[in-house]
C-alpha cells in the first residue's frame, strides 16, 4: 500500500510530440483514482509512465515515498492489468498467476497458497489447469486480475481493462473490481475513456484532455461543478447543453451574465413547463425523441438565433438542445414545447470555456 504522487510530469516523444504537458496530482493511500479522457489525451501514456513502460521526460513520479523515474517496472512493486489482458498463452491459469511470484524467488508452497486464495476470490478455482485460450473473455479478465492480486503490490494499474468485454459483463466486472479494491485497500490507478465507468469507480477522478489535467476531484463534485466546458460535456451522458450567451433571449433572462460567456445546462435539469419562474426558458421545436424506458430524451431546435458551442466531445449539432424527461410522457415530433431550467442549476463559463464563473 502506498501513496502515488506525480509532480510536473511531462513526456515528449523523440519526434517532438508532447504527449503529457506537466501533470501534478497525488493519489492517497488506498484510494481508487480514475484517469478519464477521450482517445489520445495521454491517459494511457501517463499510466504506462507510472508502470515504467514509458520513459519520463520531465518531473518526478513518486511511489510510496520513493522517486521511481529510473526504476525498472519490476522493481516498482506495481501490478498492471492490460486492455487485452496480456496473459501468457502457453501457460496454465495457475502458472500465469505464479509467474511473477516465481520470478521473485518465492517458495512453491507460498505460491500455491497465494494463487489458490486469489482463485477463490475470483472464482477461478475450477480453471487453474486451463490455458487462456480455453477461457471466455470474462474469465481471462479475472485471470489478469488474479495475476495482479497474488503479487500483493503497492499499486494496481488498470489500462482500460473492461473495454474488450460485452456491455453486460462490463457492468458486472466494474462492480467486482470496485468491491475487490475496497477489500484489498490497494492504491489503484485506472484508465478509461468511459465516463460512466469513471464516475462509478473513482474515489478521485482526473479528467484529462490533450496531455493536460482539466479537473481533479471526486466524481460528484466534478459532475456538479465542472471546471471547464470540456469537462462539462465529457462527464455526463447525454452531454451538457452548452449555449453561447449573446444579445438574445438567454442574456435577457440572465441578469448579471457577461456578454460572450457560455451557459451550460444538463439535460436532466430541464422541466417542461409553461411557467418560466426563476429560471431560463427555451422555446423548442421537438425534432427527435429517444425513449430509453426510465427516461426520454427530447432533441429540440431553438426558435431563433440558435447556435450551441461545439466543445470537443459535446458533438451536439448547433442550435440543438437535449432535454431529459421521465419515461412515461413524451411530446410528438414537431410539437413546440417550453423547457425551463432553474437558476440554481445553471453553469456559466467564460467565452473560451476554460473557466467556470460562479453565478
Amino acid at each position: 500500500m502506498a501513496r502515488v504522487a506525480l509532480r510536473n510530469v511531462t513526456k515528449i516523444y523523440p519526434g517532438g510530440f508532447q504527449a503529457i504537458k506537466g501533470i501534478d496530482f497525488e493519489v492517497g493511500d488506498g484510494q481508487f483514482c480514475v484517469l478519464v479522457g477521450p482517445s489520445g489525451c495521454g491517459k494511457s501514456t501517463l499510466l504506462r509512465m507510472v508502470a515504467g513502460l514509458e520513459t519520463i521526460t520531465g518531473g518526478d513520479i513518486d511511489i510510496g515515498g520513493r522517486i521511481v523515474n529510473q526504476v525498472e517496472p519490476a522493481d516498482r512493486d506495481i501490478a498492471m492489468v492490460f486492455q487485452n489482458y496480456a496473459l501468457y498463452p502457453h501457460m496454465s491459469v495457475y502458472n500465469n498467476m505464479a509467474y511473477g511470484l516465481r520470478n521473485r524467488g518465492m517458495g512453491e508452497a507460498e505460491i500455491k497458497t497465494r494463487v489458490e486464495e486469489a482463485a477463490r476470490i475470483l472464482e477461478l478455482g475450477a480453471m487453474l489447469q486451463r490455458k487462456p485460450g480455453q477461457l471466455s473473455g470474462g474469465q481471462r479478465q479475472r485471470v489478469a486480475m488474479g495475476r495482479a492480486i497474488v503479487r500483493q503490490p503497492k499499486v494496481f494499474l488498470f489500462d482500460e481493462p473492461l473495454s474488450n468485454l460485452d456491455a453486460k459483463l462490463r457492468i458486472a466486472m466494474r462492480v467486482e473490481i470496485r468491491k475487490l479494491q475496497r477489500r484489498l485497500k490497494t492504491t489503484s490507478i485506472y484508465v478509461t475513456h468511459d465516463q460512466l465507468e469513471a464516475m462509478t469507480l473513482a474515489d478521485m477522478l482526473v479528467v484529462m484532455n490533450s496531455g493536460q489535467v482539466e479537473q481533479i476531484g471526486n466524481p460528484l463534485d466534478i459532475y456538479q461543478k465542472p471546471a471547464t466546458t470540456f469537462v462539462a460535456s465529457f462527464i455526463g451522458a447525454p452531454p451538457m447543453n452548452l449555449l453561447p450567451i449573446r444579445s438574445d433571449g438567454i442574456k435577457a433572462q440572465l441578469p448579471g451574465a457577461t456578454d460572450g460567456g457560455i451557459l451550460g445546462i444538463r439535460p436532466e435539469d430541464f422541466v417542461v413547463s409553461n411557467d418560466a419562474g426563476k429560471g431560463v426558458a427555451f422555446d423548442l421545436t421537438v425534432e427527435a425523441i429517444e425513449r430509453v424506458g426510465a427516461e426520454t430524451f427530447i432533441y429540440g431546435a431553438r426558435e431563433r438565433e440558435a447556435q450551441a458551442v461545439t466543445a470537443t466531445p459535446g458533438e451536439l449539432p448547433s442550435g440543438e438542445v437535449i432535454v431529459r424527461i421521465p419515461g412515461a410522457e413524451a411530446p410528438g415530433i414537431g410539437q413546440r414545447i417550453r423547457a425551463v431550467a432553474p437558476r440554481d442549476r445553471l453553469h456559466l463559463f467564460s467565452a473560451d470555456g476554460r473557466k467556470r464563473i460562479d453565478l
Binding site: 513502460l53 519490476a74 506495481i78 492490460f82 487485452n84 501468457y88 502457453h90
Partner: protein
Amino acid sequence: MENRALFAGKLLPCLLILPQLAVSLIFFYWPAAQALWQSFLVQDAFGLSTEFVWFENYVNLLQTPEYYQAIAITLIFSALVAFFSLALGLLLAVMANRNIRGIQIYRTFLIVPYAVAPAVASVLFIFMFQPGLGMIARALQRNGIDWNPVLNGTHAMILVVIVAVWNQISYNFLFFLAGLQAIPKSVIEAAAIDGARPMRRFWTIVFPLLSPTTFFLIIVNITYVFFNTLGIIDTATGGGPNGATETLVYKVFQDGKVGTDLGGSGAQSVILMVIVVALTAFQFRYVEKKVHY
C-alpha cells in the same frame, strides 16, 4: 466457416488447376517415377543391355560402408547447419526487433544473403578460406591453425557448414522476425512488470511463443540441408577430401552423373524421396497441428 470458392461447372476449375498439375507432373512425378524405375534396373558398362533386377540395387547399397558414412555425414551436417542457422537467425531477429534508428536498413541487409545463389556464395567462401590465398585462411594460419579444407576432412566440413549456414540465416531471420513481431507487446510488458529480466523473459515467454515458427524452420532447414546443398558442396569441396563432405544427395549426384551407376543412384534417390515425404508428413501431422498453445 465456409471459405470455398464455388464453381458452376467442372471445366473452369479443371482448367485452373491444370498448369500447377502440369508442372508437378513434368518436373516432379515423371523424374520421380523414372528414378523409381531405374532403381530396379542394372545396365552394363557400355549401356548395351539393361536387366530388371528387382531390389538388387537396394541390397547392394545397404551393403556398402560408404553409404552409411554418407548417412552419418548427412546427419552431422544437417544437425550443425540447422542448429547454427536457427540460432544465428534467431539472435539477429531478436536484435533487429528493437526500436533503434535505421532498423529498416539493417533488416533489409540481413535478408540480402538469401538472394545470393548457393554456388556463388560457395565460391566467395572458397576464396576467403583458400589456404595460402584467402584472407580468413591466412589469418587462421597466422594464428597457428593449420587451416586446409583441401586435405583436412574436418576443415572441409566446417567450410561447407559455414557456407550453408550463411545462406540459410536470412531465411530463418525473416521467419523469426515475423514470429517475434506477432507476439503481443503487452505480453512482454506484463512479464517485465512480473519481474522477469530480459534473459528470463526470452526463455520463459518469447521462446515458447516462437515454438511454432521454430518447429517449422527446423523441418524446412533439414529439408534444405538434405537436398539443396548440392551446389555448395560441389563447388566448395566436391564431396572430399576422401568423402568427408559427401552427403546423401551429393552421393546420388556423384554415383549417377559421374559414376554412371544409374541403378544405384536411382535407389538412393528413392530413399531420399521417402525421407522427404516422411519429413513433410511429419510437419503436416504434428508440427502444424500440435504445436500451439
